[in-house]
Amino acid sequence: MTGSSGPAIGSRAPGALESVASSTVAADRPRRNWGSPWAWIIFLIGVLYFTVPLIATFAVSMRAKPLFAAYTNSFADPRFLSSLLYSFVIGLITVVLSIALIVPTAYWVRLRAPRLRPFVEFVTLLPFVIPPVVLVFGLIRAYSRPPLPFTNTDLGSSALLVFAYIVLSLPYMYRSVDSGLRAIDIRTLTEAAQSMGAGWFTILVRIILPNLRVALLSGAFLSLAIVIGEFTMAVYLARPAFGPYLQLLGANRAYEPAAVSLISFGVTWLAMIAIAMIGRGSRTRIQVGGAH
């Protein structure tokens, strides 16, 4: 189940789709260079469906006068940059804390507590079962009253948002780190390090982390992409994040929301290209999917 494929996928089953449509001419294999027409039709439908909304958004953003005013106005709005910065910083803190939490856990499960693996895996899958809106509902209920009044202060609410995002990133991070660990022989590495006198902290930071570079970076970029655009949790925790900002902008301005939407699409695009570049040539499966 590796995301990156083995060699020669394109050539190994020529005409598969075409022969679904025309089983009468299954024996010969013509037009090898051009691909099946059915494949092209489906692909082009997909391309149209994917691109038309983007083109429409671009067209709206260009209606503002003078040309590119929607973009320059957006950048000139201090709340645009401050909300983007806020979400970016929250995303970075989320990534760092989630790595600090997940790597030792996954490492320890593999090395010392394999019997607890099913339980840990179950917990890391729980965020799939608990939608963001439900999680934030529970968090607000649990942390808005005396023993732990997180939501009473800005800092507390932001901390709660970070914890919520860590929960959101648990499934991707854990699975990505775990498959990264599978690819390296952690037992031998650990024993070698221990025999040279390294402690647990040294082993984790100087041996395990560098070996998980690909898994961690792709997990980090995915988390960043999700966190920067996230709306539901940020809005109910009343945070000045990018998602709620865009929603407000959409209610109040004509062309700027289109420009900012495209910028947001661009940010996601950059994150995914980064993941693709990092993952190239690696066998680590890259996790995808996000919070809507």
Binding site: I9, G35, F50, A56, P104, R112, V136, G229, L246
Partner: protein
Amino acid sequence: MSDSATVIIERDAPPARPARRALSLSWAGLIPFFLFSALFLGLPLAFLALGSIADNKTGAPTLANYGALTTPSVATAFRNSIEVSLVTAIVGGIFGFLLAVAVILGRLPRILRSALMTFSGVASNFAGIPLALAFTYTLSTTGFLTVLLNGVGVHLYSGSFTIFSKLGIEIVYLYFQFPLMVLIIAPAIDGLKPEWREAAENMGATGFQYWRRIALPILTPTLLGSMILLFGNSFGAQATAYQLTAGQVSLVPLAIGNQISGDVLHNVGLGYAMAMGMVAVMGISIVGYTLLQRRSERWLR
């Protein structure tokens, strides 16, 4: 003599000690993780679960909150949510599968495959407010595509169609459902061994027979499992519908959101019960997914 004896004893001892230490440490190493999950997963969930069986005012145990789930407005929200999720899971699943087959087995230029994969990564994560806005610009009464189609004589808005409806939500959700399907199903299509096709052809099977009798049966558990993931993906989605419909279409995540911000019909207990209902639906689908996943591993590794 006695010296060497002690040395031997000391050499014998270590295997026993790490074993006992590992037992106690095996818990210790996971304390941060369990503490974190207890605080930010367990506790909120416990609040919802306990709240859902407690009376709003007195706190006495009651099932009234779950009974309130059958009130027409709440039942409609659940029905709408399930319907939207089913439709987008099935349509998105089928088209995503065809798209993946097209780029992987359709002899298209290799570069299209990696382009589609990267793009699917982007599109499956491109949701929420910007996605809803993009479709508003495309398919609202003055939208780009609406105007374009008017020009060629197709009037989308001559009937009852509007993008701010259930059908509209489905069209928009498909934007992240197709790509997610492509990403999930691609490894399974890669896993179809060319030998199977060759064996089938040697025995005289046509391409159609190969798909009908071999490829599709092997892929069926994966296909169904992936569609369940799509179902959950859509069922939990909130931001996109929030922006798109402004509350005109009732969906469970939107109803829960209303309970959080505390407007209209404010009834916390009902909010808790709806939240637990959502968790139940998601839980059932994940169990189904796990079972199908186990079954698909028989052939696809």
